[in-house]
């Protein structure tokens, strides 16, 4: 077992996941529903970035920023067209959740219609790994961890230092009272969608850089993102980060764990190495999710 490598892999994955989880948790916090389309927004943004980067030849960094901006508006647009109407007729959160599932399917296939199912990559060269403490890490991965960290700090500052952030927290606490404080909650919700989608795009583009990009990607990453979000306690941005870390660590650790010493009990039995089949890797996040939900339904960090 190579602890250093496991830790590095964990950090990279956690950085990507938590950027996505934050947007999800924010929407849940304010609008009280789980947005199944969230990762598809992220992928849409990553595809925009691909267009800007590969087709218009923009610098990748600029391309992602621009894509985040554009997708932020898409998030607002979808909210105005769909979710706002449902809010107006007082739909239950569950209805919103199912609607977001429909939105996810429509959006994902629309992307396929436009960009085809083929995989895409950004114009970045292959990374040569550096060796740190016996573990390998690429400059891009360091970048991802740094961007992840910076985004988290930025998010924290946003929530606690800006009027907008405070207003968001206020709406999350008590939206009626927020209205009585002259806070235009619809306007704040618009900005919140912009922010959630934009953060998602940063996460999505980082996944696209580090791994691959294709229209179905959103569906392939939604479960771990949900898992991280719930693990940390839905509606809590710090929980989302912690959840992402925990999940990433568990995924990397559990496959590396050798259960034999546990069963042998110091020589009582003699079993060769017993490891969980890698075929069950996708089940790890599910199992963690279910176990957490069963024993601590509010997640690791209780909300507020």
């Amino acid at each position: 077992m190579d602890i250093a490598q496991i830790l590095i892999n964990t950090l990279v994955r956690a950085a990507e996941l938590s950027l996505l989880a934050i947007g999800l948790t924010m929407v849940f916090d304010i609008l009280k529903f789980a947005n199944f389309a969230h990762t598809d927004y992220a992928v849409l943004g990553a595809l925009f970035a691909y267009v800007f980067n590969r087709i218009l030849g923009l610098n990748l960094f600029l391309a992602i920023i621009l894509a985040a901006f554009v997708t932020g508006w898409v998030g607002i647009l979808i909210d105005q067209a769909i979710f706002k109407r449902l809010r107006k007729i007082g739909a239950k959160p569950v209805t919103l959740m199912i609607t977001s599932m429909g939105t996810a399917i429509a959006l994902r296939n629309l992307m396929r219609l436009i960009w085809t199912s083929h995989t895409k990559t950004y114009a970045i060269p292959l990374q040569k790994p550096l060796e740190i403490l016996g573990a390998r890490i690429t400059p891009l991965q360091i970048g991802i961890i740094v961007v992840g960290l910076l985004s988290m700090i930025a998010f924290h500052l946003l929530l606690h230092r800006t009027t907008f952030g405070k207003a968001l927290r206020a709406i999350s606490d008590n939206s009626d009272l927020a209205n009585a404080c002259a806070i235009d909650s619809e306007k704040m919700i618009k900005r919140m969608w912009f922010l959630a989608s934009a953060y998602g795009v940063i996460g999505g583009s980082m996944i696209a850089m580090e791994h691959l990009l294709y229209p179905r990607l959103g569906f392939d990453i939604i479960i771990p993102v949900f898992c991280a979000t719930i693990l940390g306690g839905i509606g809590n941005p710090y929980g989302a980060m912690l959840g992402a870390l925990t999940l990433a660590f568990a995924e990397n650790l559990i496959l590396a764990l050798d259960l034999a010493p546990l069963i042998n009990l110091g020589g009582l039995f003699n079993v060769g190495s017993i490891q969980i089949s890698t075929g069950y890797k996708p089940a790890i996040s599910f199992m963690i999710l279910i176990i957490v939900l069963l024993f601590k339904p509010t997640g690791i960090l209780r909300k507020k």
């Binding site: 007082g90 009027t163 405070k166 207003a167 927290r169 206020a170 999350s172 606490d173 008590n174 009626d176 009272l177 927020a178 209205n179 009585a180 404080c181 002259a182 806070i183 235009d184 909650s185 619809e186 507020k304």
Partner: protein
């Protein structure tokens, strides 16, 4: 011309009407109390005035302007402030942040001044400015809620059961505070369920029952009317 006029308002939740044609009015510099049993529609009336609920008929007129369909946040900007009954602060925000939220529409200079005023009026808020609002006691919470509402420098203040859950002593303090606000020239509309204390400081009162005006008149009339006393004041 009254400051606020509610004209024959029919309003409610979804398909169920709670108010069946309620009319009230408040002049400038008045304290008015609305009493009535639970379920009479008092809170619904406030929510309709504030714009959380849009009436199916009737009008809400504030400063000679029809504001019936205005959203709550715009009403606040027009000069109506509202202190809800129990959930009237943001528990996870600090006291300072709560005050900032109260003055959300103000620019930073006005905001700073407003906060200073709030601190000087209620020194306890100043002492605990960086603590979260959920740590406050009931009376302190009520003071914070009122300070928040005052941040917008309103012309009219709506108070939903300001003494709910408070001990008599603290409730007295709250009512003293209401008096001093009134002296600063703010008109005040209070909902109370058991309303001796608030009627005592009020100019006029309305009695609401089953979503309709039941009675109105000066505070003394109401306090001394034996029928009302028996039916609504629990005496």
């Amino acid at each position: 011309m009254p400051l606020l006029e509610v004209n024959d308002v029919v309003s409610g939740y979804g398909r169920t009407d709670v108010l069946h044609g309620v009319s009230i009015s408040i002049e400038r510099d008045e304290i008015v109390t609305i009493i009535g049993p639970n379920g009479a529609g008092k809170s619904t009336l406030f929510k309709t005035i504030m714009g959380y609920l849009i009436p199916s008929s009737g009008k809400v007129i504030f400063s000679e302007e029809d504001v019936t369909r205005l959203k709550p946040n715009f009403k606040v900007e027009k000069g109506i402030a509202y202190v809800p009954q129990l959930d009237n602060t943001f528990p996870s925000l600090t006291i300072r942040e709560n005050l900032e939220m109260g003055g959300f529409s103000k620019d930073s200079e006005a905001l700073r001044q407003g906060i200073e005023i709030a601190y000087s009026t209620f020194p306890i808020l100043s002492d605990r400015r960086n603590q979260r609002a959920r740590t406050l006691s009931g009376g302190q919470r009520q003071m914070l809620a009122m300070s928040m509402a005052l941040m917008t420098e309103p012309a009219l203040l709506l108070l939903d059961e300001p003494s709910a859950g408070l001990s008599p002593k603290v409730a007295d303090e709250v009512f003293n505070q209401i008096m001093s606000l009134h002296q600063k020239g703010i008109s005040i509309l209070i909902i109370e369920q058991d309303a001796y204390r608030s009627l005592n400081i009020s100019d006029r009162g309305y009695v609401l029952a089953l979503g309709q005006n039941h009675f109105d008149g000066s505070a003394d009339t109401i306090l001394n009317d034996p029928q009302i006393k028996e039916a609504f004041l629990g005496g």
